[in-house]
């Protein structure tokens, strides 16, 4: 998509194409299983039968290449921070990051004495949606994902960014 990115004037065809791409990307955001700690168990619970993530089109992919959304579920420690950065760079473009749980958002319960804990994953990767909770309920995670889907839908990948 590199060559087509934001190259076109804003007219009716491009606008409807944007809507189509936005719809496609927001309808099938495949998430990259990135379970670190307790939030990973709640992520698995939201993928299980009761709170079915597949309902909103989310299919788990284990390889970073085939995933669109990286759900950072759990505490990112210093040793893991370098890996998170490398994995984020390995993901194919239009990629989004959800910081699930207090630990990923700002170090959570470990912010004060956690010498080995990264105080918030946005020091390493750009984050789109912060889902608070420790661990967030599966419904809270799905609400965060729906918010991300709304954000993807309003993106306009084809039109040229104005100023």
């Amino acid at each position: 998509m590199g060559v087509l990115e934001n190259k076109f004037q804003d007219n009716v065809i491009v606008a409807s194409l944007d809507k189509l791409l936005g719809w496609a990307r927001s309808t099938s955001p495949w998430y990259f299983q990135f379970g670190l700690a307790c939030c990973a168990i709640e992520m698995m619970a939201s993928a299980a039968s009761r709170h079915d993530l597949e309902r909103i089109g989310m299919m788990p992919r284990s390889s970073p290449r085939q995933a669109d959304v990286m759900i950072v579920a759990g505490t990112v420690t210093m040793k893991m921070a370098l890996r998170v950065k490398k994995l984020y760079e390995q993901m194919a473009d239009p990629k989004y990051v959800i910081s699930m749980g207090s630990c990923a958002t700002s170090g959570g319960p470990y912010w004060q004495h956690g010498y080995h804990v990264l105080k918030g994953v946005d020091l390493v990767v750009p984050v789109d949606v912060y889902v608070p909770g420790c661990p967030p309920r599966p419904e809270a995670l799905i609400e965060g994902l729906l918010k991300l889907q709304e954000k993807i839908q309003t993106e306009r990948p084809l039109t040229r960014k104005s100023a």
Binding site: S49, R50, H51, D52, R55, S102, T105, S106, G107, G108, P109, W111, Q112, G120, D122, V127, D128, V129, Y130, V131, P132, G133, C134, P136, R137, P138, E139, A140, I142, E143, G144, L146, K147, K151
Partner: protein, 194 residues
């Protein structure tokens, strides 16, 4: 030789029982379906009785909320929090138990205790909170609580507050006091003494 065929028979038999189970689940999906379709059906699921009802919930874990008018600034919740995500600044109120209209400070709490301190800043960083509910027990006025459940009438349950920007997760509960008013409160003008 017979073990060879017994092995094959055993494989076919056990695989077939497994397939029968998944077939049975597929066939009566209408009855066995447990999915809670979140955007439409909220927790807890009203019609499907999975064993609990909501009226005698005694505790809930969701967003923290503070009724600032009840708070007497005793800092018990700050000490009880294992994560130190509650920050409170208080100013000594000039007269105990008197309302200060321009700042919106009420002198008395609903349970009748007179306030000696004026809470100028009450901030909870929900992105650090570990939702352990330790802060709600020591509060003498029961003014800090997690929304929903037993206090559902005042505040419906709210566990859906994900944000695009991290700083929105820091909730300010105290009433806004301009620096000028703060100066006036901290060192009352001399003529008041005289």
């Amino acid at each position: 030789m017979s073990k060879y065929f017994a092995n094959i028979y055993d494989t076919v038999n056990t695989l077939w029982t497994g397939m029968r189970i998944t077939w049975r689940h597929m066939m009566n999906i209408k009855r066995d379906n447990v999915t809670l379709q979140y955007p439409e059906e909220r927790w807890p699921r009203p019609e499907r009785n999975i064993g609990f009802n909501h009226d005698n919930y005694n505790v809930i874990r969701s967003r923290l909320h503070v009724d600032i008018d009840e708070c007497i600034g005793c800092l018990k919740c700050t000490r009880a929090c294992p994560v130190d995500c509650i920050k409170i600044d208080t100013i000594k109120a000039p007269v105990r138990g008197e309302d200060i209209p321009n700042v919106g400070h009420t002198g008395e709490t609903s349970s009748g205790t007179k306030k000696a301190l004026l809470v100028s800043r009450f901030t909870i960083d929900m992105s650090e909170c570990c939702y352990c509910n330790l802060c709600t027990y020591p509060c003498p006025e029961k003014c800090i609580f997690m929304v929903g459940g037993p206090n559902g009438s005042k505040h419906p349950i709210d566990y859906e507050f994900s944000e695009f920007d991290r700083n929105n997760l820091i909730y300010q509960f105290a009433k806004l006091i301009t620096p000028g008013q703060k100066e006036a409160l901290q060192n009352p003008t001399p003529e008041v003494e005289a």
